[in-house]
Each structure stands twice: as C-alpha cells, then as structure tokens.
C-alpha cells in the first residue's frame, strides 16, 4: 500500500508542478494543433485517408517527445532526483509517478488533437481513440525511462529523440494499423502487449538508470 501512496504522492507533485509552472502542456497543445494545421495545408487535395492517419501519428510522436524532454527538467534543475533517490521508497515509484503525469499531459494534448484531426481530416473512430490511449501509455512508459537516462547527459535534447524514436516504431505501426485496418482488434492487442512488456522492462530497470 505504501508503494501506491508513494506513486500517488509523486504523481500529484508532478501535476502540481505543471499546474503552477505551465511550461509543458501549453507547449504540447500548441505544437500538436499547429502541426495538424501545417499538415492540413501540406497534404495535397484528394490525398488518401491513410496518409492523414499517418500524419496524425507523426504529430503525436513528436508531441510526446516535446513533453518527455521536460519530464525531468524540475528534477535536473536542483538535482532533486538525488533527494528522491535517497528516500527509502522503491525507486520505481519515481518512474511510475512520472508515467502517470506524462500520460495525463499526453491525454490533454490528445483531447485537443483528435477533434482538430476530425476538423481537418477524418472523423475520429473508437478504434483510433483506443489506439491513441494505448499508445500514450507506451510512449510514457518507454519515454520516461529514456528521459531519465537522457537527463543525466549533457546532450539530453539530442539523446532523447535518438533513443525514443526507434523504440516507438512498433507503437506507430500498431497505432496506424488500428486506425485503418479492417481488423483493428489485432493491432490494439499488439499495442496492449507492447505496453505491458515495455512497462515491465522500464519499471524493473529504472533503479539502474538513476543510480550508478
């Protein structure tokens, strides 16, 4: 029970920090909407619906990177991560608390992005919504671990996308598949499996990322 309390405490802290500083979510919202606007003009008239879905997923991936780049900014500023790591709580609680906050931020961006997508391109189906929700968990699970790794590096802004993009290719494949395939259940199952595997791997390896 105390583990979940620690996770709740850490997630609440991240949400409070964002409510106060507002330096991540507004940037994500602006980015995802402006990207969709640009794609709206970039996509030639008569382009297939599949292309529009592909562009939506590209916008979501880069929005996630934008949020993840800031994920450990507050901890990095005054080496707060050292203080958290020294606490007797399980260190994976830091990861899980951060994942919850990142999912919340991504969720807000997607709540704005999906209606914008419907406005510019295609109607939003339940398969797309389910795919985006599952993808958000995958982005956050993998991305939070990588953001913690990158936070210790001087080239963090460069390192995070370099590590993140190859690892989330399966999410994009599953997400696009769930959006356009006749049998979306198969792709949604694939996304759920990806989330499960990478969440367990990230949860188990976070301790080694934040300690030497």
């Amino acid at each position: 029970m105390s583990y979940l309390e620690d996770v709740g405490t850490l997630a609440a802290k991240d949400l409070r920090l964002e409510l106060r500083s507002r330096d991540t979510v507004p940037a994500m919202l602006l980015f995802v909407v402006s990207t969709l606007v640009v794609f709206n003009f970039a996509l030639p008239a008569g382009a297939s619906a599949d292309a529009a879905y592909g562009l939506l997923w590209a916008a979501l991936v880069f929005t996630a990177i934008l949020g993840l780049t800031r994920a450990f900014a507050a901890e990095r500023e005054q080496r707060v991560l050292d203080g958290l790591v020294l606490a007797p709580s399980d260190r994976s609680a830091i990861w899980l608390g951060k994942v919850i906050a990142v999912v919340a931020f991504l969720g807000l961006a997607e709540i704005v992005a999906l209606p914008a997508f419907a406005l510019f391109f295609q109607p939003v189906s339940w398969e797309l919504v389910a795919g985006v929700a599952l993808a958000s968990v995958g982005f956050a699970a993998v991305g939070t671990l990588l953001a913690a790794m990158a936070a210790a590096s001087r080239a963090r802004e460069l390192l995070l996308p370099l590590l993140f993009l190859p690892l989330v290719i399966p999410i994009v494949v599953g997400g696009v598949g769930a959006s356009i395939a006749d049998d979306p259940g198969r792709y949604l199952g694939f996304l759920a499996l990806y989330d499960l595997i990478f969440a367990i791997l990230s949860w188990a390896s976070f301790e080694y990322v934040v300690t030497e």
Binding site: L17, R20, A74, R79, V80, G83, L86, P88, T211, E212
Partner: protein, 194 residues
C-alpha cells in the same frame, strides 16, 4: 559506521579521490577539509550511495532512508513552496507525525512565515535553511553535510552551530567545510584531502 579501503573515484580520466582509507565510528563527527576539487563532495556523495566507487571498497552501515544528505544544491523543487517540499519528503521518508515535525523545523530555522512561498522566491540563505530542514526532517542516523554554512547569515550560522552541538555525539556526521575552525571543538577527527 563507515569503512573505506583503497577508495577511489574517477570522472573520465580525472581522478578525484585515490587510495583513501577511512574509518568513522558511530556518533563520530569527522571534518572533511581540503581545497576545491580535492574530492570532499565526491566522498560525501559516495557515502550517500549516489556515486559508486571506481576503485576500492566502501561500506556504510546506514540504511538508505536513515541518511541525511545536504548537498551544494538544496534538492528541493523551485516551483513548490517550502511546506510542499518538506511534505513531499516527509511522505517519502515516512516521517512519523510529519506535520508537527515540519512545523517545528520551519519554526526553528525561521521559515515559518515563508512556508507558503515558492522556493524560487527564496534567497540563497533561505534555500540553505530549507535544505537543512529537509536534511534533518527524518531524524537521520548519518548526516553528510557539504558546506552547511554556505549562504547562511549570522542568525542562520548561529542556528546551525546550535544544531551541530545538539547532534554531535548523538549522530554520525561527516562535515565537509572550508572553515574547519568553526566546528573543530565538536569534531572527533579531521580528514584532509588533496
């Protein structure tokens, strides 16, 4: 409490600590002195478990949650208030009677009036006082204090003097300082690095 044999730590090609042998008994107060870059902060971070030795062995007989670590940075969130920061640490360290303990420390270090202000608005001295509150919050058995007097005004220095007098002989302390004379009377030993 702390035993080191042939302890060494390098950062890339730069050796910061080399072949250090150290024994610190329970309730000792060891002063760690030396010029800038001699490895004082590195030694404390090693004892805290934040760094791993690159050579030799280090044994610290204190559980993770029983160590109080005061670093150069206050290790608190700038966008949270003093109260919110201490409450966060109090929860994570499972401090009994958390609110009373936080209130007592904030009173003692003169931060009670500023408890609902964001740390970003604090002066360097106030941040150091808050860092001391954070370090002492869970009543640790082992205190690792890196330049604890840094940034403190006269009142803050007097408060810390009194705190160290009460802690000496009841807790194990490693205190890195450029001003060893100030606490020399409390120390049970001195380690000169560099």
């Amino acid at each position: 409490m702390i035993a080191a044999r042939g302890l060494g730590r390098s950062f890339g090609s730069k050796r910061v600590l080399r072949d250090l042998d150290l024994d610190v008994a329970e309730r000792d107060l060891l002063l760690v002195t030396g010029p800038n870059g001699s490895g004082k902060s590195t030694l404390l971070a090693l004892c805290a478990g934040l760094l791993a030795p690159t050579r030799g062995e280090l044994e610290v007989k204190a559980e993770r949650g029983r160590i109080g670590y005061l670093a150069h940075e206050p290790l608190v969130y700038r966008e949270l208030t003093a109260l919110e920061n201490l409450d966060l640490y109090g929860r994570l360290y499972r401090v009994a009677e958390r609110r009373e303990r936080i209130g007592m420390l904030l009173e003692r270090y003169g931060l009670w009036e500023a408890r609902r202000e964001r740390v970003a608005t604090f002066s360097r001295g106030m941040q150091q006082r808050l860092a001391l509150c954070r370090t002492l919050l869970h009543d640790p058995d082992l205190l690792l204090l890196d330049e604890p007097y840094a940034g403190l005004d006269e009142e803050g220095v007097a408060l810390l003097d009194a705190e160290l007098r009460s802690l000496a002989g009841t807790r194990t302390l490693l205190l890195a300082t450029h001003d060893p004379e100030r606490v020399a009377s409390l120390a049970t030993g001195t380690l000169a690095l560099g």
